[in-house]
């Protein structure tokens, strides 16, 4: 990608088409079926949340979309092109920040640009990403000096610096304390609205899904298939005690098999 093209590029977004995807793992010799015929279409710029019982295979779906693994059967298309390998335009943020402990926050954030050899010409983007996640003061700090929330923000900065057209979030807030979690939920929505990327969030938290996403997809037990879908037509910022949100929450929990 030439410099001119990189500069001219406005924040893009990716449309996603998951077609009949099934996936199996080898587990001590036996085959474990994680996904079973998943069909999912996501429009460019959409924010979709994936909900489901733990261990059902949601994270596996994200790894497949990221291109870290290829599905046993079925296909995944990004803007109509099959996804075969990882690409910095589709970035996966993990549940753990997985920052490189041997690199400063700044170096961690710069990883994607450095790996593609464009760091020298685009160093400003690292500064911007640090400012965006309010980590400028910690640029020279090492990961062990950060709090859990700061580390996860740094992981977000490391993803956003690449200007991804698809952001895959694998329970990125799952291990944070509730206050930090609420603050970061708000930040995520802001970032998504400002940048316009397509977002796909795996979460256990029904409320989180309803506060962030335009559409909530509920998965079954393993092997996962799509059980139900809910549209959330509410303007942002949303409030957890909004009657519509509360009603949707009850509905989704019932779908998941919980009486409220």
């Amino acid at each position: 990608m030439s410099l001119a093209a990189a500069v001219a590029q406005t924040h893009p977004s990716l449309s996603l088409d998951v077609r009949g995807v099934s996936h199996e793992f080898d587990l001590d010799g036996s085959r474990l079926r994680a996904l079973d015929g998943v069909n999912l279409e996501i429009a460019a710029g959409e924010f979709v949340a994936l909900l489901g019982p733990s261990g059902c295979g949601k994270s596996t779906l994200l790894r497949l979309i990221a291109g870290l693994e290829t599905p046993t059967s079925g296909s995944i298309l990004g803007d109509g092109e099959p996804i075969l390998r990882p690409d910095p335009s589709r970035i996966l943020v993990f549940q753990d920040p997985t920052l490189f402990p041997w690199a400063t926050v700044q170096a961690n954030v710069a990883t994607g640009l450095e790996a593609r050899g464009v760091l020298k010409s685009q160093r400003g983007r690292v500064t911007d990403a640090l400012a965006l996640t309010e980590l400028t003061a910690f640029a020279k700090a090492y990961p062990h000096q950060l709090s859990g929330g700061m580390a996860q923000r740094a992981a977000l900065a490391r993803a956003l610096v690449n200007d991804p057209s698809l952001l895959l979030l694998d329970e990125p807030l799952g291990k944070l304390d509730s206050l930090t979690r609420l603050a970061l939920q708000e930040e995520l929505v802001k970032l998504w609205r400002r940048r316009g990327f397509t977002a796909l969030l795996v979460t256990h938290d029904v409320e989180e899904a309803l506060l962030l996403a335009g559409r909530v997809v509920v998965f079954s037990e393993r092997p996962a298939h799509i059980k139900a879908e809910f549209k959330v037509d509410k303007p942002y910022p949303r409030h957890r005690d909004d009657p519509d949100i509360v009603a949707k929450r009850r509905e989704i929990l019932e779908t998941l098999g919980l009486k409220t």
Partner: protein
């Protein structure tokens, strides 16, 4: 403690005996005791006759008394020396113990002859070796450092590259790991006959032996270090568009560094241990050669004196390596403490 000094300074008008009491109270007590024990070692050396003549007794006594005078000065002034002073105070008990040790050592060897010549040597016997054979020892130090550094650096370089390759590449590990595990426990010295055959000069053969001793632990530990890196870091790298070469440089290398340093320290000790044997191979100079030569002639004082030099050299290099490690592994601080 520094408060006490200030109190002392603010009372310049205090009467004579009272200010002496102040000086005593505010001084470093262990410094006084250290001065006493070191002076005792010196006095014992000149006051009592040697059972057998060793030489350099008066010089040793002078050094001991000189050290005792320094301890007296430190006892009065150590609190004004800041951090260096704190370090000196920290090692106070050691200074006392060394003085006691030297005194007992003098008494049991040269003075009473309980530990007889030639198997044992008093401290001034060792000093006499440095005095009489100093130039030759200096040349030996130079030769040994040359052999050691050539062997260690080349061994570590090869071992490190091998270790990264073994940890990174499955097919490399398939063939390499069993071989490395097989030859790892073989003492480096067992290779001497083979090396004689393969290397054109004995000097190269010696370098190989030292290199082997330092390289194998570095290779094994670096390989295990690369293997122990969290796989999620590689996932992150892949997602961010990193090439394999980038993953090696930016994840495998820094991630395995803590293990590599363990290997380096092990290799350092092994390499010093094989130096003596490596210098058997037709060397004309070198500390190892000197030790063997003197052992053959029952020059045990010379042997001890040389061992002391080797110990100091080795601990000096260890210290240096610790400094490098602390520099490179600052990011680990949170994990260790």
């Amino acid at each position: 403690m520094s408060d006490a000094i200030r109190t002392l300074d603010s009372r310049p008008a205090a009467s004579g005996p009272a200010s002496l009491v102040y000086i005593w109270r505010t001084s470093w007590k262990q410094g006084w005791i250290a001065a006493l024990t070191w002076a005792a070692a010196g006095l014992v050396t000149v006051a009592l006759p040697d059972v057998v003549h060793w030489g350099s007794g008066p010089l040793f006594a002078q050094i001991m008394v000189g050290a005792a005078i320094i301890f007296v000065i430190l006892a009065l002034s150590v609190h004004r020396l800041g951090r260096a002073g704190e370090r000196i105070v920290h090692y106070g008990p050691w200074f006392i113990a060394i003085g006691v040790w030297l005194t007992l050592w003098e008494l049991t060897t040269a003075k009473f002859g309980w530990l007889p010549k030639p198997f044992f040597s008093p401290p001034h016997g060792l000093l006499n070796v440095y005095v009489t054979d100093g130039p030759r020892l200096l040349i030996c130090i130079g030769y040994t450092l040359r052999l050691w550094s050539l062997g260690f650096v080349s061994g570590v370089a090869v071992g490190y590259v091998l270790g990264i390759a073994l940890g990174w590449s499955k097919s490399f590990a398939y063939w390499g790991m069993p071989i490395l595990k097989l030859i790892g426990p073989v003492p480096a010295t067992a290779w001497i006959p083979v090396t004689f055959y393969f290397f054109p000069t004995t000097f190269l053969a010696s370098i190989f032996i030292v290199g082997l001793a330092s390289g194998i632990p570095v290779a094994i530990l670096t390989a295990s270090g690369v293997g122990s890196i969290n796989k999620a870091y590689y996932d992150v790298g892949h997602v961010l568009g990193a090439s394999d070469w980038y993953l090696i440089r930016k994840i495998a290398v820094p991630g395995s560094l803590p293990h590599t340093f363990v290997g380096l320290f092990m290799g350092l000790y092994y390499s010093f241990a094989v130096l003596v044997v490596a210098e058997m191979l037709g060397a004309k100079f070198g500390l190892g050669w000197y030790i063997q030569f003197q052992t053959a002639y029952s020059g045990y004082a010379n042997v001890y004196a040389t061992l002391l030099i080797m110990a100091l050299l080795c601990s000096g290099v260890v210290r240096l390596m610790f400094m490098v490690r602390d520099r490179l592994l600052v990011w680990q601080k949170g994990f260790i403490s």
